[in-house]
Amino acid sequence: MTVSLAEWLMDDRPASRRQAVLGNLYRGMRAIIANPAALAGLIIILLLVAVAIFAPVLALGRSPFAQDLAQRLAAPSAVHWLGTDELGRDIYARTLYGARVTLTIVFLVSIIVAPIGLAVGTLAGYLGGWVDRVLMRITDVFLAFPRLVLALAFAAALGPGIENAVIAISLTAWPPYARIARAETITIAGSDFIQVVVLQGASTLRILFRHVVPLCLSSVIVRLTLDMAGIILTAAGLGFLGLGAQPPTPEWGAMVSAGREVILDQWWVATIPGIAIFIVSLGFNLLGDGLRDVFDPKAER
Amino acid sequence: MSDPLLSVRNLSVSYPGRTGITHALKEASFDLGRERLGIVGESGSGKSTMGRAILGLIPRPGIVSAERMDFMGSSLIGNSDRDWQRLRGRRISMIMQDPKYSLNPVKRIGDQIAETCRLHLGSSRKDAEKRALSMLEAVQIRNPDTVFTLYPHQLSGGMGQRVMIAMMLVAEPDLLIADEPTSALDVTVQNEVLRILDRLVRERGMGLLFISHNLTVVSSFCDRVLIMYGGRILEQCAARDLADAKHPYTRALIAAAPSLDHPKSELATLVRDPEWLK
């Protein structure tokens, strides 16, 4: 007897752990796809990844770095589809390669912010007492500063550059995640299923990592996805102020910044990377909303 | 008994879903006079759906259909929202399981009861407050003046349920639907609340639809009992004859409950027969 893949995944009585996990993922995937806005967001993010990977192919031999001063600030044409910038570099190619920079920022910020936020939040929420008080006061200190200003200070102290920009953003972005993780942890820690593991003799670390963190993860992922637009914009802001990616790196924020002076006469220089930032931010926002619907425990039967 | 208070014929409630239509209630027929009618069933039997359908409280996209649903001679079928508003709280009232969710947490108890009174009876502020106080007395709250000024969170479970009863009865409805009114209460408190309901039914000649999962309570408190299973009424009998019920489901339900008076070495388990849902 053969069953289709979909039937195997939707099976109510899975025969292995793998089938159960995949089935659960598949149900989540179907829920995202069934939600038009989330699907649009997902498609945009997948496109971003595809563009980043295939930038050399899509650029059709154009280099993001090659300068052609004779062709500076050229309007969109058959040769330069989206025009050129103040150094005669092809904006089409630079925008494509810029996806790589943006994706790097997104990736690096995610793997720094989520673990810090989760670690601080779950520890504070689960242990309580003075650990909670100390960790949360530190969090409050970070929260008290306006984010961009704090990131600016960090970026200025660390020196300009894309890696430092990412570190600066991450250092300012984790406190809300710690707050979320702490709130979730306090609810989870009081529940019967955590008491059960305590009674089984599990160590605190085991309880935190195997039982508490997986439950906080979904809200952290949702928040991260929703925040991603803001993070990209902060990165662009730092780039715009000259504290992010350094020339000649094709970073969208820096590109907008460069086009600022000529925005009235040569609008494309600033507009094209601006549109890219806008679309990607929108994509993350849409996906974040969709994920929130999918992960919402109230929607679970 | 003359004309029944409530007469229901072939009442059905169904919910369209992705996999087809679910029948929460199927072709239920019964009459209710000025008596205590118990509705017993396990979860998913449709007993709560029945109570809600009679009050027109089935949420969208649920579909309600009935051949007849007469309350004091007039049909409830096709009632508009305004018609329902005129009935609910005034002529038909409902008590829910947990008073915590039914009382407004930021308003004083007395004001809530008085407001109900003014809304439904159009009485003056002074009059309403007097009625509210006397109602609190009627549900045997020891110091009604104090309780009048309390907020819902300051009440114990039994007290809250009495306040709910007071609020529901202040408009002197003809029919009271009580959905598991005592299930959240301790046994000793439960019996006090039942005693109050019992007195009010007898003194005011009200009809009571008492929905519960507890066979002991229903058989000792009600006059007649409907046994529900899978959205159907399986049988109706006098409450005192419940021990000699005919339907195998009812018998199995009685046998499955551990009893203080009749020790059993092993409890009978229920074998569900698809025939019951024919």
Binding site: N24, Q200, G201, P297, E300 | S220, A256
Partner: protein, 251 residues
């Protein structure tokens, strides 16, 4: 097997101290089924949680199998007793399959051959292989409670603590679970402490029963005495009377 001397539990501090349990002393023999009944606020569940070591504020002399069990519990202490909670919807991790829930205690205690132990634990509580990889939301209330019992017994503890294990279930499902508990008790020679508000349930499963009110122990009676009403306190008598159902006023 289990001896408690003068157990008191308070919650809160300063002016807002709540005495949940006041000076309760109990002793439970090996292989016995001991019941604790009372109404809400009687402290019955708190006593059970104190025995399990779930209440931090307990000030008592508790011995299990002759060894003191107050203070910090070791892994070995934990294996002596396991707990089944009231609400089957809250006692299973929502993102773990039945298989993972049963694997966890084995992993914590480093027990060998988890595959067979899990399969055996499931069959003991009457669940089939088709349930093994399901998530809690794919199970009924009765099935979840079976999983909770299987999880408690997979470490083979000599003592099983049950906190209202059937009060969230329908009567017919309750009968199945109660039968299961008494069967498992026989097969594994368990010592059981059962907390319930339902006199019928306690009398059905236990030989000796403690009655509690306002945090104090009212009395300890045998199941036979509870059934026949051969009790000393008025409160117990009122409780028995009330649980027989409503008595109509004669008019």
């Amino acid at each position: 097997m289990i001896d408690i001397a003068d157990l008191s539990v308070t919650f809160g501090s300063g002016n807002r101290v709540v005495h949940a349990v006041r000076g309760v002393s109990l002793s439970v023999e090996e292989g016995e089924s001991f019941g604790i009944v009372g109404e809400s606020g009687s402290g019955k569940s708190t006593v059970l949680k104190a025995i399990a070591g779930l209440v931090p504020n307990s000030n008592t002399h508790l011995t299990v199998q002759g060894r003191p069990a107050s203070g910090k519990r070791t892994k070995a202490d934990r294996r002596l007793m396991q707990f089944v909670f009231q609400d089957p919807y809250a006692s299973l991790h929502p993102r773990q399959t039945v298989d993972e829930a049963l694997r966890e205690p084995l992993a914590i205690h480093g027990l060998d051959d988890p595959e067979n132990r899990i399969a055996q634990a499931l069959s003991e509580v009457g669940l089939g292989v088709e349930h093994r990889f399901r998530y809690p939301h794919q199970l009924s209330g009765g099935q979840r409670q079976r999983v909770a019992i299987a999880r408690a017994l997979i470490l083979r503890p000599p003592v099983l603590l049950l906190d209202e294990p059937t009060s969230a279930l329908d009567v017919s499902v309750q009968a199945e679970i109660l039968n299961l508990i008494s069967r498992l008790k026989q097969a594994n020679r368990l010592t059981i402490i059962l907390v319930s508000h339902d006199l019928g349930v306690v009398a059905h499963l236990c030989n000796r029963i403690a009655i509690m009110q306002f945090g104090k122990l009212v009395e300890v009676v045998s199941a036979a005495d509870l059934r026949s009403g051969n009790v000393t306190s008025d409160y117990t008598r009122a409780l028995i009377e009330a649980s027989r159902g409503f008595v109509r006023a004669v008019d």
